[in-house]
């Protein structure tokens, strides 16, 4: 809003139109989100009666959250399923992100700074798999995991999530920029082997890229829906929160009265919104943790949103 300080004389019609239309779009984006977050703090009765005024903000109370949480986490044969799903998501998302970092850093370094015959081929495969939507491989991945009899278990999901070509690309760009060829050659002449050069020099300067790869991998893994749906649907206790939310929707009296009638818990819109809100908190946490590095690496990270 710096324009305000410069006084009214610089407000040409074009400028006014630009600022107004940008604020209008911002409102279209923000109002639904504000209403949705407010929904997580509202009561079923308040929503039913339409009380609470604008976006139901007047209906917000902490006691509503406590009630809604008891319903959300009461879901399942013995309750507590939602907590279990959150834990599962943490396991596969963090496990997959750690694998992605461990694999991406040395691979990105090798592609950036070592000459070997298959280099261009590996780079091409990485780029193509990076830009393709990852859902096209889910059915083949299911067939593979089914063949080894591991459907319904968490470890294959984390392992598959470890394959993160975007992370390899980020590392590749990182080492192209931060590690000059001359540095590698100097280290070689000092008697270091190729792996040692990476280990003693490459890893020293990789804090930035470790955070970036881990962040993007964690977010992609946490929000992944189709892979856990195909691999984990058969085992209710081993599901992730992304497909768990789908189950909660399916058990809501709003959309499926017959199923909901047989349940102890009642999942109306405030409960669904609260479950969604809680499922987003880990993403918020990693975003705040990685923020400093994201801004610095914006140009690199912007290649794939």
């Amino acid at each position: 809003m710096a324009a305000h300080t410069r006084g009214i004389e610089s407000w040409s019609p074009g400028r006014l139109a630009r600022v107004v239309s940008m604020l209008f779009v911002a409102a279209i984006f923000l109002v639904p989100i504000a209403g949705f977050v407010a929904m997580a703090f509202r009561s079923n009765d308040g929503v039913e009666n339409g009380s609470g005024g604008f976006l139901g903000l007047g209906d917000i109370a902490w006691s509503n959250v406590r009630y809604s949480w008891s319903q959300v986490n009461g879901f399942g044969p013995d309750g507590g399923l939602f907590t279990r799903w959150m834990t599962n998501s943490l396991i596969v998302a963090a496990g997959g992100a750690i694998l992605a970092v461990v694999a991406a850093l040395p691979a990105g370094y090798a592609m950036a700074r070592l000459r070997f015959r298959a280099r261009r081929a590996v780079l091409l495969i990485t780029l193509v798999t990076m830009v393709m939507p990852n859902t096209v491989l889910v059915i083949p991945l299911f067939l593979e995991v089914n063949a080894v009899g591991a459907v319904g278990q968490l470890w294959p999901v984390a392992l598959i999530m470890g394959f993160f070509p975007f992370g390899v690309y980020l590392s590749y760009i990182h080492y192209l920029i931060t590690m000059p060829k001359e540095l590698v050659e100097a280290a070689r002449l000092d008697g270091l082997g190729e792996v040692s050069v990476f280990w003693w020099i490459g890893l020293r300067i990789s804090k930035q890229v470790v955070v970036l790869v881990a962040f993007f991998a964690f977010v992609a893994n946490w929000t992944n829906f189709f892979l856990p749906l195909a691999l984990l649907s058969s085992n209710q206790r081993n599901q992730t929160v992304s497909i768990g939310l789908q189950q909660l929707i399916g058990a809501s009296p709003l959309f499926n009265p017959t199923v909901a009638a047989g349940l102890d818990v009642k999942l109306y819109m405030p409960q669904l919104a609260l479950a969604t809100f809680i499922s987003m908190l880990p993403l918020l946490a990693v975003f705040l943790g990685a923020q400093r590095f994201l801004i610095r690496g914006e140009t690199v990270g912007a290649v794939k949103g």
């Binding site: 809003m1 239309s21 393709m132 070689r188 190729e194 829906f225």
Partner: protein, 321 residues
């Protein structure tokens, strides 16, 4: 500092014959080192990419077991025939195209228009707006879906008045009216996706050197002419990249139509997109060869788009810097 001294040392070494064999030796140790460093990634690439594709090809060429003939074995292209002649096959692609025809132009105009507006607003207002546009992108996948259930369900929607004005009283009516789905999917995907692409295109705009704008200003260009004749042509590669990435994204549509069907009391076609059809082959019919064939068809399409992106966008080939 060490670099400089070592450089001097290395250049002062004469270049006799033995250098070649040493170069050869260093070359092979370089190759060995490279593969050693690549090995964790290659293992994951095999598990997460190569092996499943190979196994899908093998599975697609088998014949599905039936109650009468429970054996599996080589079935040739029969599973591809099953897929191509399925009554839903053509429809699913038509649905995706119908969605893309509406969604892609809106998406591209939105991305480019908002990125240009942000670029024309230097200072804190521009970057604050860029951040605001990015926020919905954080609500990826299922979270975005639940948000849209909140918006689409007239019972408690903040745009309740709008729904009642067009005569919609239930979420089923909102979603399942004929021809409505492509528009709803457009709204959902635009809301979720536009922000991160604005950041990408804005990054491209920020990379334009200032003297180009100064030269244009000297020629008397106003803000509109600047955007239309100067900025737009320069960021064309980014626009093409965004368009192709979003095109490929259209072919993976699954979550939204699948779950909209669930909240609309199954009033939508159960298999509306190709990915849903492949999922149904695997998990409703247990016809794994047909499911594998369907995913290979989608793989070929998206692979084609992917290769186009990689070779046209300059991602590949800038490695020698």
């Amino acid at each position: 500092m060490t670099t400089a001294t070592v450089d001097k040392r290395s250049t002062s070494v004469p270049v006799p014959k033995p250098q070649r064999s040493r170069a050869k030796a260093s070359r092979s140790s370089e190759t060995r080192g490279a593969w050693l460093l690549l090995s964790p990634y290659v293992v994951l690439l095999l598990i997460g990419g190569i092996v499943p594709v190979g196994y899908a090809i093998k599975t697609a060429l088998e014949k599905p077991p039936t109650p009468l003939d429970p054996s599996t074995g080589f079935g040739g292209v029969a599973s591809f025939k099953t897929v191509f002649t399925d009554y839903r096959f053509v429809d699913t692609f038509q649905n995706v195209l119908a969605t893309l025809v509406i969604w892609l132009p809106i998406m591209m105009v939105g991305i480019v228009g908002l990125a240009l507006l942000i670029h024309a607003s230097p200072g804190r207002f521009g970057s604050a707006m860029r951040f605001v546009y990015y926020i919905p992108g954080a609500l990826a996948g299922i979270a975005n879906f639940v948000l849209w259930v909140y918006l689409l369900n007239p019972g408690q929607s903040p745009i309740e008045g709008f729904w009642h004005a067009i005569g919609v009283d239930t979420i089923k009516q909102a979603v399942a009216a004929p021809g409505q789905l492509p528009f709803i999917l457009t709204a959902m995907m635009f809301f979720q996706g536009v922000g991160s692409w604005i950041v990408v295109v804005n990054g491209g705009l920020n990379g334009i050197p200032d003297d180009i704008f100064e030269a244009a200003a000297l020629d008397g260009a106003n803000a509109w002419q600047l955007a239309w004749h100067v900025k737009l042509p320069i960021i064309r590669p980014w626009i093409g990249y965004a368009a192709l990435m979003n095109l490929a994204y259209g072919f993976q549509l699954f979550l939204e139509p699948q779950l909209l069907d669930q909240v609309a009391s199954n009033a939508l076609p159960d298999q509306w997109t190709p990915t849903q059809l492949g999922y149904a082959f695997a998990f409703s019919n247990y016809n794994f060869p047909a499911a594998a064939a369907m995913s290979l068809i989608l793989l070929v399409i998206t692979l084609g788009i992917g290769l186009l992106i990689v070779f046209r966008s300059g991602l590949f080939g800038e490695e020698d810097n």
